[in-house]
């Protein structure tokens, strides 16, 4: 947050899809940025627009339409960039790790060769032998056992967790400046998740890259992130340093998310669910999108009629709530009521 320009800067991005049932605004004026060496976690429930935001920002959106916004990568405009130039960035300076590693791997090419090719595309003058040695080194680094043997195997001979390691090896092969990881551990078991999160942390340290970690798991957020953006119904509703998000959330939705979590580390007398369900994006409330589920609103007309903009809540955080000053005391009272009843 000093004078250095962020690696990735998304500003005021809006994305829509046309569907037979009407227009879906999947991303609604989203802004966030991430600095070198920093991990920003983007968290929210299914369908809140986490993935579409980054896909649109990186020019990987299939069907959708970017309605407004600007995205820069290292100062260069990503949206206006010729597709060819952008493609050259992808896989080198700017890499992605998705939930399903098979989307990134070629099933009919050996794993080692895929890693080597990634190196060669970036550095065409590298000799085949050097690329092979480097690829084996990378496989070893991400914890693939017997990397020289595994080099010659195909993805189907690897487990899901092992394939994800290979994808991470490819993502860090060329010292990227930005790694976008979209639910990279959602499909694997928790012991494998622990391995992969460790690996991503090491990868970030080794490369100094900025990381955008998309997840719905607040445990993962607490573990990896410095800063957190909370999304709801296509919008960022709160953004703050990680300690603050967990200690004193400044948006009723964040408060709700935290108090409905079952905990591994302690007994919770009672979970306090958020009533209702996330909205259908074809039919988002006119005022605050969270209003139909917000227990703090008490049907106030500002909530029902006016979209709350994302505003500074304190020196470190921003929140999109008309009554942000009430959040802390409301959250305390809410917790107190439940404990009394229990």
């Amino acid at each position: 947050m000093v004078a250095v320009a962020p690696v990735l800067d998304i500003s005021d991005l809006t994305v829509e899809f046309d569907t037979p049932e009407g227009t879906v605004r999947a991303v609604d004026h989203v802004s966030y940025s991430v600095d070198a060496g920093e991990t920003l976690a983007v968290v929210g429930e299914t369908g809140c627009g986490k993935s579409v935001t980054v896909l649109a920002a990186l020019g990987l959106l299939g069907a959708g339409r970017i309605v407004s916004g600007a995205v820069t990568f290292g100062g260069a405009d990503l949206l206006d960039m010729p597709a060819k130039k952008r493609r050259r960035l992808l896989g080198h300076d700017l890499t992605m790790v998705f939930q399903n590693p098979m989307t990134a791997l070629n099933p009919v090419m050996t794993v080692g060769r895929q890693v080597a090719e990634t190196l060669l595309v970036h550095e065409p003058k590298m000799s085949r032998g050097t690329a092979r040695d480097r690829a084996i080194e990378l496989l070893a680094m991400v914890g693939v056992p017997q990397p020289d043997v595994r080099y010659n195997q195909y993805p189907h001979e690897f487990s899901g967790g092992m394939c994800q390691r290979v994808v991470i090896a490819m993502a860090i092969a060329n010292k990227p400046r930005l790694i976008v990881a979209d639910e990279p551990t959602t499909a694997v078991d928790v012991t494998i998740q622990a391995q992969l999160l460790d690996l991503l942390r090491v990868a970030r340290e080794e490369t100094g890259a900025a990381v955008v970690m998309i997840t719905h798991d607040l445990g993962v957020v607490a573990e990896v992130a410095e800063r957190v953006a909370v999304m709801y119904a296509g919008r960022v509703v709160e953004m703050a340093p990680v300690e603050q998000i967990f200690r004193s959330p400044r948006h009723p939705y964040t408060v709700g998310l935290l108090s409905c979590l079952p905990r591994l580390d302690r007994d919770v007398s009672e979970l306090i669910p958020i009533p209702g369900a996330p909205p259908d994006l074809r039919d988002v409330a006119r005022g605050c999108p969270f209003e139909p589920r917000c227990e703090m609103s008490a049907a106030r007309s500002a909530c029902q009629n006016t979209r709350p903009p994302l505003m500074p809540a304190d020196p470190n955080s921003v929140s999109a709530c008309h009554f942000v000053d009430e959040v802390e005391s409301w959250a305390r009272a809410r917790r107190g009521n439940v404990e009394e009843a229990a």
Binding site: T46, D189, V190
Partner: protein
């Protein structure tokens, strides 16, 4: 494979499996389920998946036993075999003391035991209204006329927090959380003694998951139904369950009261599993035990202790002798040769 995995005979009065004089509603003894592995054009049998290998546990009235473990460890196969959705290879299942056999009438079984699936959408009939789905078990039993079934549907809807005006909607018109409520209502239609729930909240977002977890707690308090709750989510299991069984590669490696298992896990696998779960506390300093490697194939499980290929404490004996699931501290059973050696790992 000859080693019995139980300290004493189950049901010999006392507290072998962690409960005082209470009688279990569900008893599972030495349950085994193998699946054939076939190969080639003639489907020659070339091996067996040891999905469930000698699993024993009990579930008590009004209580929840959580069955946890990683993907493929045999949780669902255990649940399905207990429910007789799969025929066991061997073993005994008793419901209220009565042995369930191949000769047991499925209709009788369905009166006392019900199943809730992970994917509520796939398990509901898309062409039947919510009300008809919920009372389908009554129709199969030939219980009541249409009007009585309708009344029961209304009762069940109120029970699980659905509205009367939703009775005649099709499953496709409900959200994921609501569909799971329909699935739970259907499971409760015949007031069963035991409900087996296989990952019932895994497909739900946290805000909706909490609603369903609270619902399950309330229903249990109201009806004294027993739950066998299958999940890979250790936080959810801690919240919901009275007792916990941890599975690894077809076997229960540790079983005990929730507080014992979570606060003082004795099996190296339980310790590693618990230490791997990220907790929502930034900067929480935890001694993570990172397991090396992947789950071995259940077609050729390791000889001796099945966990030894990934166990940070493995010794030579672990490859030779399979550890018994036996009592270490009263009610907690652990299958490890060195379970009491070192508790400082977590």
């Amino acid at each position: 494979m000859s080693v019995r995995t139980e300290g004493k005979d189950a049901g010999s009065g006392g507290d072998t499996l962690g409960r005082d004089a209470k009688t279990p509603v569900l008893q599972v003894e030495h349950l085994v389920k193998h699946f054939p592995v076939r190969k080639g054009v003639f489907g020659r049998r070339v091996g067996e998946v040891h999905a469930v290998s000698d699993v024993s546990f009990e579930v008590f009235k009004g209580q929840t036993l959580g069955l946890v473990g990683e993907s493929g460890c045999g949780k669902s196969t255990t649940g399905r075999t207990v429910m007789r959705l799969l025929e066991p290879t061997s073993g005994v299942v008793r419901l209220q003391g009565q042995e369930i056999t191949a000769a047991t009438n499925p209709r009788d079984l369905a009166r006392d035991m019900a199943f809730v699936f992970q994917d509520p959408f796939a398990s509901l009939n898309p062409r039947l209204t919510a009300a008809k789905n919920v009372t389908e078990p009554l129709r199969i039993q030939g219980a009541g006329d249409a009007a009585q079934r309708r009344a029961r549907a209304l009762e069940l809807f109120a029970h699980v927090g659905l509205r009367e005006d939703q009775l005649d909607r099709l499953p496709s018109e409900f959200s994921g959380g609501q569909r799971q409520r329909i699935g739970i209502a259907r499971a409760l239609a015949l007031s069963p003694k035991v409900v087996i729930l296989d990952e019932p909240v895994s497909a739900l977002d946290v805000s909706v998951q909490a609603q369903v977890l609270n619902l399950l707690k309330r229903l249990q308090a109201e009806t004294d139904v027993a739950f066998l709750f299958i999940s890979h989510d250790l936080s959810v299991v801690r919240h919901l369950c009275d007792r916990v069984a941890v599975m690894y590669l077809g076997k229960i490696v540790e079983i005990g009261d929730r507080a014992q298992v979570y606060d003082r896990p004795l099996h190296p696998y339980t310790q590693a599993l618990l230490s791997a779960v990220p907790v929502p506390v930034p900067g929480a300093r935890r001694n993570r035990i990172v397991l090396q490697g992947d789950l071995p194939s259940p077609v050729n499980p390791p000889k001796g202790c099945r966990f030894r290929t990934r166990c940070p404490k493995a010794q030579a004996i672990c490859a030779e002798k399979e550890p018994e699931l036996a009592s270490r501290t009263g009610a907690q059973l652990v299958a490890c040769h060195f379970a009491d050696d070192d508790r400082s790992m977590v």
